[in-house]
Structures are given as structure tokens and as C-alpha cells.
């Protein structure tokens, strides 16, 4: 098994869970270690309970994992909730002035810090956090210098005095642990690699900047707001117009307006905001104005659980807006893919003049991952499709220009406003080749049919433009696990664990939901010995979709809809349960109470 080390930091919102998390993350990534961070939190600004898991290791870390090596509870509540998660070899560092320890499992070490003796808590309210970070790093066998440097950066803005005060507190924790606590058995190594650590939201925003997005707008909605925050903070340097709009209806229509005027335009929201946008999706499709909309799924329906993850919006995406129209829907597989998928889907949206939907979820949007900076490519292929931007660049011109010219591909050259000789009206009403409405006085079944067929012919082109999925692992494995989007990492690790335990397992992870490539999927699965569909929702939305498109029915289903992501052991146990014939539907229970 790969070496990995996981830290859990729990406390109330506002107690400063994020800062020690950021410090650990920075130190790990600078040591060339991979990293995955997931924050389980509640929709509350002060109070409640939040639990951050940071998992690191010299090899790829794709999910939060099963095991906690170090627990840092910042209050009694966190101690009471999580101590029971620790197994032999793990440790719990806590403030012994304010927190009573519970009973730890055999072999798990309780490490009390006499905080008021080690630091002046009247001066520094978060001294316990800094002491714990120092103590933890000491037990991990990481030199103090790394921490000193990060603290220097962290508190630089607050002045030298603040920097030295925090370094002194951290040092006290570091030295106290060295003298009093047992170090972890397997120290974390260093590698020569250097990673960028970022959230899926940051990755999608940066992917947009790389794709040449010049207009971004949004209405704040968890868990998509991080895209807006990155865009807003970097807008002026990146040359992107970023607006916060009155509602998501305004958002999608403003995005369409900017796209129509000729720039790449993007917006992001969550399920509720997306519901408001759906009429706009149809407008984008009908006017053939390409836009990209990101949906960061959270647990629904309605306001649902705003801070929890789910893959429950698939059918909303498939059915968004009335009528038939071409669309592309992609679900990024991990944080790095959140970046990569944006230029890819923009090329499809632009070429086929249709809406592109990125179906992300809270797990990726707010989770953080170490990514090789080489994978953040700011010079990707940009294909704007058949776009007329100057008076001489299009075919013919003047009076013969037909915005919705009927073509074999279904793609009609698109002139942007401001170009002489190409004036036309783009309409949400059904229209003729030259843009004239046929919906009112001139309704004409022949023309309507021709225009429907013209638009829908683009579906063939879209299918060819998006690559079909591939199987990771042998076709004749004991089990093939089928997932989509964000479950890639956890299923990958599940397959490794199962294979190590003697059950060969392969993975089919779906990235393009539309086009689905049903034939390719059926071909991959035709000799499968046992198939299970893994997804984060109640009704098996992807399973139902796959069945509707291909008639394929798997042997079993593994689902989770409690708001928390899968952990590898959830799927491992479900696979074993199903292979032994005990069940066809497994719904693992989440052990971490957050």
C-alpha cells in the first residue's frame, strides 16, 4: 500500500481551522508531497462544527482516505466526535487546559499540550492552534525551518512582531512534542517535485482564464462561489470583465449577451441557481450563442444541504430547458481536470454554437489537491469555430449573409455585431435561415422541420469531438466499477485496495455525459464479469441515464446520499458484500460525524 498520512482538524467555524490547514498544506507541497484536502462544514459563519482532513504522501493522493493519523481537536466537541476514529499508531494533540480527552483506542497516543504554560494566551487567542501545528510537525519528523518560513509568509502583513511571536509559539509546541510525545513511526519523505495546491473552483476559474474567457458573471451560491472569488481577485490582471449580478436569470442572460458580442463567456452556480438559468440555456441553444455554465452540485432538493456534496443534478442538466437542442455536458474527474475541461468544452461550445455545461460538485469545487504546475496549461488549443469578426473574413457578405444557413454539419458561420454587411437578428423564436421569425404570422412546418434538423445535426459533430471513455484495468476483472465525475479518485484507490486483497478490479470513469458514447461503453462492458455503478445520489441518476441510452443494467449499485463523499473502504466493503451475493444495492454509512 502507498504511504500516506492524514490529519484531521476539527473545531467550530471561526475558531481558525483553516489556518493550520493552510500551513500544513504549504509545508507538504513544498516538500514535494501530494496532497488532498476536504473540509466538512456547515452553513454557519460562527460556531457549528467543521472538520478539515488533509491527506498527504509521496505518491498521488486522490481522496481523503480511510485512516486518520493525527487528530487536532480545537474544542471539546471535536474531541468527542472524532477521537474514536483513531487506530493504533495515530495520535491526538489537544489543549489540555480546556479539553478533556476521551478514551483512545489501543496504540493511539493522546498528546496533551499545556497551552497556558507554553504560550501567553491572553495575547494570542489562537495560540493552541499554532502550538499544535508545531507539535504535529515535530512528531512527523519535519524540520522546524519549514514551519518558520511559512509562518513568516502567513503573518508578514501583520508585521515583524507578529511573525516572531507566532514563530516562538510554534517553536514551543515543536520542542515540547520532541521532549514529551512519541514521533510517528514512518516519517514523511521529501521529493524534488513541486506542486500547486488549489481547489476545483480555482482550477475552473483559471481554466476559464486559460481558455480566453473575457466575461464572467455570477450570483453568489455555495459551493460555486470560489470561481467568482478567483475571477474577481484576478480580473484586472487577466483582462476579464467580472460582474456580480442580481440573480442567476440575469447571470445567464448577461453571459449570453457577452458571448453574442463575440467573447468567450462563462458563469457558475449550484443546482438552485441553475434551475433559474434553464430558460437561458434554451436561449443559448436557439440563438446558437455558445456559453459555458458550471454547476457545482450540492445536496438537494431546494436549499438542501448547502455545504454538502452530491451528484444529484444530472437529470436537471439532461433536461434543462424545454425542447430538443444540442448541448455538451462534462463532469471533471479531479481538481486538475477542473482546469483542463474548461478549454475543451469551450472549443466544443464555440465550434457547435451551443451551451456547454460543466457538472462539478462540492467535493471537487471546494476540495483541494496538489497538481503538477505543468498541467495548468495557459496556452491550450483555442478553436473559436466559424466566427466572422471582420468584414472580409466570412463567405460572401452583405445581403446574402444567412446567420442560420442550412449546412450539412448544422453549423452556420456566426457574425458578431459591429461587422459591416452581416446585420441580422438572432431570435429565441423559431426563425428562418436569415433569422426572420417563423413563429408568429409566418409559421411554416417545412421551415420549422428544416431548422430543427439543422440544429440537431450538430449532435453528430459534438459526439465526434469528445473522446469516448476508456477502461482502466483488465476487461475480465472480478469487478468493474463504473463512476462519473468526482468519484474518480476514490474508485481508483478502491481498485488498488481490492486488487491487493486478491479481487481484481477495473474502473470505467465517465467524463463526457453528453455525448455519452453508449456504443463504446457497451463494447467495454460486453465481457464484464460483474459491474457496479458507484454514485453520490439516491436514485442512481447515472445508472438510470445509462440504461435509458444503452439498455445496460449493471449487476449492482453503490450509492451514498448523506452529503459526504465516499471513502475507499465504503466501496471496498460494498464490493465484497455484493460479490458474495448478499445485496445488489449498497448504501455505506458515513462514520465521521460532521
Amino acid at each position: 500500500m502507498k504511504q500516506s498520512f492524514a490529519i484531521g482538524i476539527g473545531g467550530a467555524a471561526g475558531q481558525g481551522v483553516a489556518t493550520p490547514g493552510d500551513i500544513f498544506a504549504k509545508i507538504f507541497s513544498r516538500r514535494g508531497l501530494h496532497l488532498n484536502a476536504y473540509n466538512a462544514y456547515q452553513s454557519i459563519i460562527r460556531g457549528g462544527h467543521t472538520f478539515l482532513t488533509i491527506r498527504t504522501g509521496p505518491e498521488k493522493v486522490t481522496n481523503m482516505g480511510d485512516r486518520l493519523d493525527l487528530l487536532i481537536p480545537l474544542n471539546q466537541d471535536a474531541m468527542d466526535r472524532h477521537l474514536r476514529l483513531l487506530a493504533a499508531g495515530a495520535a491526538c494533540i489537544y489543549n489540555s487546559d480546556t479539553i478533556k480527552p476521551g478514551v483512545a483506542a489501543k496504540g493511539a497516543e493522546l498528546c496533551p499540550l499545556p497551552v497556558s504554560k507554553l504560550a501567553d494566551i491572553t495575547r494570542n487567542k489562537v495560540a493552541q492552534n499554532t502550538l499544535a501545528v508545531g507539535a504535529g510537525l515535530s512528531m512527523m519528523g519535519i524540520g522546524f525551518q519549514a514551519l518558520e518560513q511559512v509562518l513568516g509568509e502567513q503573518f508578514k502583513k501583520k508585521g515583524d512582531a507578529m511573525v516572531s511571536e507566532n514563530i516562538a509559539i510554534a517553536r514551543a509546541g515543536y520542542d515540547y512534542a520532541a521532549a514529551n510525545f512519541r514521533p510517528f513511526a514512518r516519517p514523511l519523505p521529501m521529493t524534488a517535485n513541486r506542486y500547486a495546491v488549489l481547489s476545483g473552483n480555482t482550477a475552473m476559474a483559471m481554466g476559464g482564464a486559460a481558455a480566453g474567457v473575457k466575461f464572467y458573471c455570477a450570483y453568489p451560491m455555495s459551493p460555486s462561489t470560489g470561481v467568482l472569488h478567483w475571477m474577481a481577485a484576478h480580473a484586472r490582471k487577466a483582462g476579464i470583465m467580472v460582474r456580480q449580478v442580481e440573480d442567476e436569470i440575469g447571470v445567464v442572460n448577461m453571459t449570453i449577451g457577452a458571448a453574442h458580442a463575440g467573447v468567450r463567456s462563462m458563469c457558475a452556480t449550484s443546482g438552485g441557481g441553475f434551475a433559474l438559468m434553464s430558460e437561458g440555456l434554451g436561449l443559448s441553444a436557439m440563438m446558437e450563442t455558445p456559453i459555458v455554465v458550471i454547476d457545482c452540485q450540492r445536496a438537494g432538493p431546494s436549499t438542501g444541504v448547502p455545504t454538502k456534496t452530491e451528484q444529484g443534478d444530472l437529470w436537471q442538466m439532461l433536461g434543462a430547458a424545454f425542447g430538443d437542442y444540442p448541448r455538451a455536458i462534462a463532469a471533471p474527474l479531479d481538481v486538475g481536470d477542473c482546469f483542463k475541461i474548461i478549454p475543451e468544452i469551450f472549443n466544443i461550445a464555440d465550434r457547435f454554437q451551443c451551451p456547454g455545461i460543466v457538472l462539478c460538485d462540492l467535493l471537487l469545487a471546494e476540495g483541494r489537491l496538489s497538481v503538477d504546475p505543468k498541467d495548468l496549461d495557459f496556452a491550450p488549443v483555442v478553436d473559436r469555430g466559424e466566427l466572422i469578426t471582420t468584414a472580409s473574413s466570412g463567405p460572401n457578405g452583405d445581403s446574402v449573409y444567412k446567420r442560420y444557413k442550412i449546412t450539412q454539419s448544422g453549423i452556420s458561420p456566426r457574425a458578431i455585431p459591429g461587422v459591416a454587411g452581416y446585420t441580422h437578428t438572432a431570435a429565441s423564436d423559431e426563425h428562418d435561415e436569415d433569422g426572420v421569425l417563423i413563429s408568429d404570422e409566418f409559421t411554416n412546418p417545412t421551415k420549422r422541420r428544416a431548422m430543427m434538423e439543422k440544429r440537431m445535426r450538430k449532435v453528430t459533430g459534438i459526439a465526434a469531438a469528445a473522446p469516448p471513455p476508456v477502461l482502466w484495468g483488465p476487461r475480465d476483472a472480478d469487478v468493474i466499477l463504473i463512476g462519473w465525475g468526482s468519484t474518480k479518485g476514490v474508485i481508483e484507490e478502491t481498485c488498488e485496495i481490492l486488487t491487493e486483497e486478491g479481487i481484481s478490479a477495473s474502473q470505467l470513469q465517465i467524463r463526457w455525459l453528453v455525448p455519452l458514447h453508449g456504443d463504446a461503453i457497451l463494447d467495454i462492458l460486453k465481457d464484464a464479469r460483474h459491474t457496479m455503478i458507484v454514485e453520490n445520489n439516491y436514485s442512481g441518476q447515472f445508472a438510470r441515464y445509462l440504461r435509458s441510452e444503452t439498455s445496460f443494467v449493471p449487476d449492482g449499485y453503490i450509492r451514498k446520499y448523506d452529503g459526504e463523499p465516499f471513502m475507499p473502504h465504503h466501496i471496498v466493503e460494498a464490493v465484497k458484500e455484493q460479490l458474495s451475493g448478499k445485496s445488489r444495492l449498497s448504501v455505506p454509512a458515513h462514520e465521521i460525524l460532521v
Binding site: M241, P417, G418, A426
Partner: protein, 298 residues
């Protein structure tokens, strides 16, 4: 290039004639608005390819199809949101938004208010007929109390919105009212609205000859009084404009209620646009900038 063409090519009425003739009912007030917009564009010599006419849904929202400019016939109530996107992507374009009272003050009310406070640089012409026409005659947000329609057969019990006072309150920097039957006056207001830098709101009485038997040409004619004929009216005086906005029934002012030119437009306030319209910007951001974005994360 646009400027060069404009200088050599004279813009004539014929250039602005749409691909199809309007299908409005004979006598509809919207004909007068269309003619006035075309005249204003000719008088200002704005080439048709630099104009985007954007509408929502409704009788008057069919407007973009009847004029030869770039046009967008969007969703019910959403024209202003779309228009804001167009203007921010290419602020060299002249943006006209056309629609009706139901489209703008009913379903589009939210965007109406927010577009005004943002001072988006465009002219918004509402062809206000105090009724829903295309859905065959229901009460609109500007229908008077007591008016009988198919949706309120026993008379409207809801107070109408006052578009002029609403626009003044929401921060529109140019607020005017016209009457479709007063062509010269209306054309002048449209020209001023296009030239005004910022959000120009022009509410136009555009009688519905089919469904509104209360607010007819005959009803409006004796009541409308041009503000321009009142030597005491000062369009820079917001409080006075608000006072005029509240007049109704016996005397209904038309003309320019209010204008201020000291506030930045939305596109003027955003430094991202200092280098020119985004539509002409390089797709790729400079390598040193993107490198710095990545380094922040390390």
C-alpha cells in the same frame, strides 16, 4: 474601420428597413416608435452594423426584426441583462433595448431596477400600452386601477407602477417620456437618449388599438404636455423631476424629466476596459501573468 465606413457611407432610412414589415395591428403605437428610432439613427448617422437592437418578448419586442441593425430577440423580461453583456463585451456598439411594459416592469422588473443603478450605457425604450397585447389582453403593471381586462374582468384592484418615478428612484441618469403620436418630439428624445452616456430610460405611450380601450390616442392627446414647453423645468433638478413624474390624469408631462452626466457608466468605471473593447482583446493572457497565477498556489 467602423469610423471610416461611417464617414464615407451615408446612413439613409432605406438602410434601416428590416427584412420584413411589422406585423403589428394597423394603428398600433409601435409603428411610430419604429419610425422615430430609424429617423434618430439617420439623423445621428450611426451605421446600422454598429447598432444592436435587443428586445424581450411581446408585440413591441418584435421590434428588432423590423429594423436593419444587429438584433437580438431574447427571452421575456431578459433584454436588459442580455444588453448589459453585449455592452460590456463591446462598448463601441450602440445598444438599444426595446420592449413593452409587461416585459420591462413585470417579468423583467428586477433587471430594470439593477440596470439603472449600474448606469449601463444604453437606451431603453418601453412601448408602454398599459396592457398585455400578444397574450390577447390581460392587465399589465401599468394598467390603471379599475381597468377591466380578461385577467381582471371585474376591474384591476392593484395600483400601477409609475415607471418615471421608479426610474428616478433607481438611479437612471436620463429619464424621459414620449408619445408615439408626437413623432418629432419622440425622435428628439431618442437622439438625446442615444447620445446620453449612461442608462437612458424612455417610456413611450404607444396605444394598443386592439385591447386597451381606456388609454387611447384620444385619451392621451389632450392630456400630454411637453416639459420642453415649460421654461421653469430644469432637467438637472431631481426633486422637481420627481414632482413632475407624479402628475397624471388631467396633465401628463412628456419630454425629458431628468438628466445627469457626472456619473461614470458601468463600462467606464471598470479599468479592465481601459485598453478597449474585450471583443478585440487577445485570447491568451501574457505568460508572465499566468505564471504568477500558478506561483501563488505553490
Amino acid at each position: 474601420m467602423a469610423t471610416a465606413l461611417a464617414a464615407t457611407n451615408h446612413v439613409a432610412m432605406a438602410d434601416l428597413k428590416g427584412k420584413v414589415d411589422p406585423d403589428w395591428c394597423p394603428g398600433c403605437g409601435d409603428f411610430g416608435v419604429l419610425a422615430a428610432v430609424q429617423k434618430a439613427l439617420v439623423e445621428l448617422q450611426i451605421p446600422n452594423y454598429n447598432v444592436v437592437t435587443i428586445s424581450g418578448i411581446g408585440c413591441s419586442s418584435n421590434f428588432p426584426g423590423f429594423i436593419n441593425t444587429y438584433g437580438m430577440h431574447t427571452l421575456h423580461g431578459r433584454a436588459l441583462a442580455v444588453a448589459t453583456g453585449v455592452k460590456l463585451a463591446n462598448h463601441d456598439l450602440t445598444v438599444l433595448v426595446t420592449g413593452g411594459d409587461g416585459d420591462g416592469f413585470g417579468i423583467g422588473g428586477n433587471h430594470f431596477v439593477h440596470s439603472m443603478r449600474r448606469n449601463v450605457d444604453l437606451l431603453y425604450i418601453v412601448m408602454d400600452n398599459q396592457i398585455y397585447g400578444l397574450t390577447t389582453g390581460q392587465t399589465s403593471p401599468t394598467s390603471r386601477v379599475g381597468m377591466k381586462t380578461k385577467s381582471m374582468p371585474f376591474g384591476n384592484i392593484e395600483a400601477p407602477v409609475n415607471p418615471i418615478s421608479l426610474a428616478l428612484a433607481a438611479g437612471a441618469t436620463f429619464v424621459a417620456r414620449g408619445f408615439s403620436a408626437e413623432q418629432k418630439h419622440l425622435t428628439e428624445l431618442i437622439k438625446q437618449g442615444i447620445q446620453h452616456q449612461g442608462f437612458s430610460f424612455l417610456d413611450v405611450f404607444s396605444p394598443c388599438v386592439t385591447y386597451n380601450h381606456d388609454n387611447t390616442y384620444q385619451w392621451f392627446r389632450p392630456r400630454v404636455k411637453k416639459l420642453e414647453d415649460d421654461p421653469a423645468h430644469d432637467p438637472a433638478d431631481w426633486m422637481a423631476a420627481m414632482g413632475k413624474a407624479l402628475l397624471w390624469d388631467e396633465e401628463i408631462p412628456i419630454g425629458k424629466f431628468f438628466e445627469r452626466t457626472d456619473l461614470p457608466t458601468l463600462h467606464g468605471a471598470e479599468p479592465v476596459l481601459n485598453a478597449g473593447p474585450l471583443v478585440h482583446a487577445d485570447s491568451q493572457i501574457p505568460a508572465d501573468v499566468s505564471r504568477a497565477f500558478v506561483e501563488e498556489l505553490m
